[in-house]
Amino acid sequence: MTLGVAGGAVLLMALLVLPVGALVLRGGVDGLRQLVVDGELQRALGLTAAAATMATLVTVLLGTPLAYLLARHRMPAGSLVGALVELPLLIPHPVAGIALLLAFGRASPAGAALARVGLGIVGSPLGIGLAMLFVSAPLYVSAARESVARVDQRFEDVARTLGDSQWRAVRRVTLPLAGRGLIAAAVVMWARAVSEFGAIVILTYNPKVVSVLSYDRFTAFGLDAALPVAAVLVILAVIPLLVLRSLRAGAGPLERAP
């Protein structure tokens, strides 16, 4: 029994680790070298990081109040809102790109209005950010909702009896107590946004983000050309992973005892 469980675990670990390990071993060194000399890779990295950061910041700004409402208030439409927020997670990403194109492309009223003020989403960094936000914001909202829900409502209640308005109590008590979870949620969202390909490639092939650049080099020049770029993406994914682990390691006594 124990042997069978261990064997299953080893098999799964092999399935998860082997492809990533092979990629880093084959393309890692070359990828790090290209990071220094390859201008296109540098631009793609910069664009990816900037778009993912913008998408994450916008989501934190708009998604945190939504997460708070979903965690604290039993709204009649609460479960429907929650389901709608999570819907993009279940849509194949190229389909998400098509949906975004329909809603915000030049042919749509919203897209036409955006284009009139110089904010077209097709072939622009804005489109990349929008695609990243669409596919990864649900991860932030869900995790942020869990983080807020873990903070006992009574902390906030006590703060209000001590003279705080609701917003002030949220700012002084709930957000600091949920802070670690909110940062972790933002990091997960950022990492997911960085790795997005399917929705972005429908909206914006150029300028290229790293995932699109990796695909472009694979289709145009073959596996050897794509390997270093792909390996750089994997190596960069270690950064949010380390941040998440350090956040978990330093988790405070918040949820344990009032």
């Binding site: 006992d152 009574r154 902390f155 209640d157 006590v158 703060a159 209000r160 009896t161 001590l162 003279g163 705080d164 308005s165 609701q166 008590v173 600091p176 107590l177 405070g252 006594p253 918040l254 005892a257 009032p258």
Partner: protein, 349 residues
């Protein structure tokens, strides 16, 4: 003052129902009741952190039903303290205080000043309660709601904090509503006591009256009355006979004569253990209207007192006597004794 008029509120599937009670300004009100009776829900509804579904909350003579918690001038202390774990003890106490000096003065009076530099996670349960109390008092609320605030304090500190809090409450004229399971606390602190059962108030009165004359059998049992019997009450002496004003109770295998204003019919007889007098033989003559012969089932020591359980007819009767009396009478299991109870000590409800 706190005046509640048919106050109702919901907490999940639990419902607080039609609570009507008035607590004068500067009074100390005690709320008693079994777990799940709605005591905390009542405090939270008064504080405004839980919405009233019906009725009115009057605080200091003004309708506060629709006011947000921060505008009510009400402080609340929960049993678990709910200290903010991301702040130090000092920052917790200063959280709602007008100035740091006031917070420091209150900390000193309650004996929490030595804790101010510490982190919340390093505090014991009793220290947390002390800090929570200081934090709630620091903004000088006109009304203070306490939900078992002394439960985790050791007996010596509990007595000191209780006395200091009572002094501060008198100095400031604070109106206090205090949930407790400690009957001694209820008796020593309370000006008014109320009992809650199943989300509703079942009795309100002076603490001693409540303990002397519980309004129902369930309240008597909750208040720890040793002998509570269910049965029927019959009015005696109707039509000018000598027994005017007396009542006969029969039920649970026991018959008792009592006095009071029970209308007759289904009811409960309540006898405090301290009101049962034990003798080896029938005391004669005696003014006690109830003399019951019984066999001792057990004698249990309880500090300086002894709890003697008798088998009387088909039921049991508990007497509380001093250890000295128990020894003088040679009370032991299996011995026969006579239990005397005055009619005035039999409360019928």
């Amino acid at each position: 003052m706190i005046a509640l008029e048919q106050l109702s509120a919901r907490a999940g599937s639990f419902e607080l129902r039609d609570v009507t009670v008035s607590l004068p300004a500067g009074a100390w009100g005690i709320v008693l009741g079994p777990a799940g009776a709605g005591k905390t829900t009542l405090l939270e509804t008064i504080a405004g952190v839980r919405r009233a579904t019906r009725g009115r909350i009057m605080l200091r003579g003004k309708d506060a039903t629709a006011l947000p918690p921060e505008s009510r001038g009400v402080g609340i202390v929960y049993q678990h303290g709910y200290l903010f774990p991301h702040l130090t003890v000092g920052e917790n106490i200063e959280y709602g205080a007008r100035d740091a000096g006031t917070a420091r003065a209150i900390s000193a009076r309650l004996g929490a000043d030595a804790l101010t530099g510490r982190s919340v996670s390093s505090l014991s349960g009793g220290e947390r309660q002390l800090v929570a109390l200081a934090r709630a008092l620091a903004p000088n609320p006109g009304i203070l709601l306490l939900d078992e605030p002394f439960a985790a304090l050791d007996p010596r500190r509990r007595a000191r904090v209780r006395a200091e809090l009572r002094r501060m409450q008198r100095e400031r004229g604070t109106t206090v509503l205090h949930v407790t399971h400690d009957f001694i606390e209820a008796g020593t602190l309370g000006d008014i006591a109320m009992v809650m059962e199943n989300g509703a108030l079942s009795q309100v009165g002076a603490p001693e009256a409540l303990f002397r004359k519980p309004a129902s059998g369930s309240i008597a049992e909750f208040l720890g009355m040793e002998n509570v019997y269910s049965g029927t009450v019959q009015r005696l002496g109707v039509g000018g006979e000598p027994e005017i004003g007396t009542l006969r109770f029969s039920g649970d295998g026991i018959e008792l004569i009592g006095v009071g204003d029970h209308p007759g019919g289904v009811g409960h007889a309540v006898v405090r253990g301290e009101d049962v007098v034990l003798a080896r033989q029938q005391p004669s003559p005696s003014s006690a209207r109830n003399a019951l012969q019984g066999r001792i089932l057990s004698v249990a020591a309880d500090g300086v007192l002894a709890r003697v359980t008798l088998e009387v007819g088909a039921t049991t009767l508990v007497a509380i006597v001093t250890q000295g009396s128990a020894q003088e009478l040679g009370l032991a299991a299996g011995e026969m004794v006579v239990a005397s109870i005055k009619a005035t000590a039999v409360h019928l409800c």
